[in-house]
């Protein structure tokens, strides 16, 4: 009997370790819950990608539910999520603004020309300062911002059809129904 207990030891130790591993998975950087959620979106005033004479700031989106998508022409994962965004733009459910992160204007414009432009407008963040305020870990990232300018959701990594349909669109629907105060 004693021997049997001894032989169960490895299993017991393994099960104990499992608990920690499971817990450890939650430490994954892409799951770090952003404290920005529930906070006002950081202020910015950036030039428009196509027309540097136009400056866009948060105030322009006031009263609207909108998405902010951080992208760059050098980012391959952005290529992967791009068709999803183009589709979304076609449906006209919610305006998508692009934050063109640490990118050259010509490269970015060429990229949009080649793959389609889902953005109502793209903001040109050459030195990445606005991205820094938003706590961008890596490109792409996507934020859902409500009528009051509060960040309600943050997607780290590409937006997939699944993320869009299960997380983003229902939230957008709900936010749209909230009455502007």
């Amino acid at each position: 009997m004693k021997r049997r207990l001894l032989l169960l030891m490895p299993l017991a130790i393994f099960l104990l370790l499992l608990v920690f591993f499971y817990d450890g998975l939650k430490l994954d950087p892409s799951l770090v819950s952003s404290p920005l959620i529930g906070k006002p979106a950081p202020q910015f005033a950036l030039t428009e990608l196509y027309d540097p004479s136009v400056t866009i700031s948060n105030a322009d989106m006031k009263g609207e539910v909108w998405l902010l998508n951080v992208w760059a022409s050098w980012c391959v994962s952005c290529r992967a999520e791009h068709p999803v965004l183009v589709d979304l733009a076609r449906q006209r459910v919610v305006p998508v603004y692009g934050l063109n992160y640490k990118d050259q204007r010509e490269d970015a414009i060429g990229w949009l020309k080649a793959f389609g432009n889902p953005y109502v407008s793209s903001l040109h963040d050459l030195d990445g300062r606005v991205g820094m305020d938003y706590g961008v870990y890596g490109v792409p990232e996507t934020y859902v911002i409500d009528r009051q300018g509060i960040i309600r959701y943050k997607q780290i990594g590409p937006v997939t059809a699944k993320v869009l349909n299960e997380n983003i669109l229902p939230l957008v629907q709900q936010l749209k129904e909230e009455r502007p105060s």
Binding site: P35, D127, M132, G138
Partner: protein, 152 residues
């Protein structure tokens, strides 16, 4: 020796061995754990002065200064809330850049500067050390709150 005695002898030896190993492990762990702090946390924690720890955050833009000996560098590590100046003598890693994540290991001196003996930058363009990411997030969430001191 009879089998029973032999078993007891093995058992006793095993227990002694286990005790020795445990003592060694605990001793080694105690002396060699290095904790990670963001600048806000480090500044809020007076007990850290002259203790070795890891400081992580972003290298502030335009803060990198090289001294005339060519080897000593000074830069500022920030979590966008608080900042700490860092002094390091040696060659910086390839991916060290202003505006990027960095982890420095060393001690916070009484002069208010962090004296690093090791500087780690991220390993890949698309990768930020998770600790830095977490530290930045913690600093952000602590901007309103005041009592966010980690224990040791």
């Amino acid at each position: 020796m009879k089998p029973r005695q032999k078993r007891m002898a093995f058992l006793a030896l095993g227990l002694v061995g286990l005790a020795v190993i445990t003592a060694l492990v605990l001793n080694a762990l105690r002396g060699n754990m290095v904790f990670f702090y963001s600048p806000s946390e480090a500044l809020a924690n007076i007990t850290l002065v002259e203790h070795k720890f890891r400081l992580g955050g972003l290298v502030e833009d335009g803060s990198l200064v090289r001294e005339s000996d060519g080897l000593t560098v000074r830069f500022i590590v920030t979590d966008l809330t608080k900042s700490i100046p860092v002094v390091y003598t040696g060659i910086l890693p390839d991916l060290f850049r202003e505006g990027q994540g960095v982890v420095a290991q060393g001690t916070l001196g009484l002069d208010g500067a962090f004296h690093a003996d090791e500087v780690l930058a991220k390993h890949d363009e698309t990768y930020m050390p998770p600790e830095v990411a977490e530290g930045l997030e913690r600093a952000k969430s602590a901007r309103g709150a005041t009592s966010d001191q980690p224990g040791i």
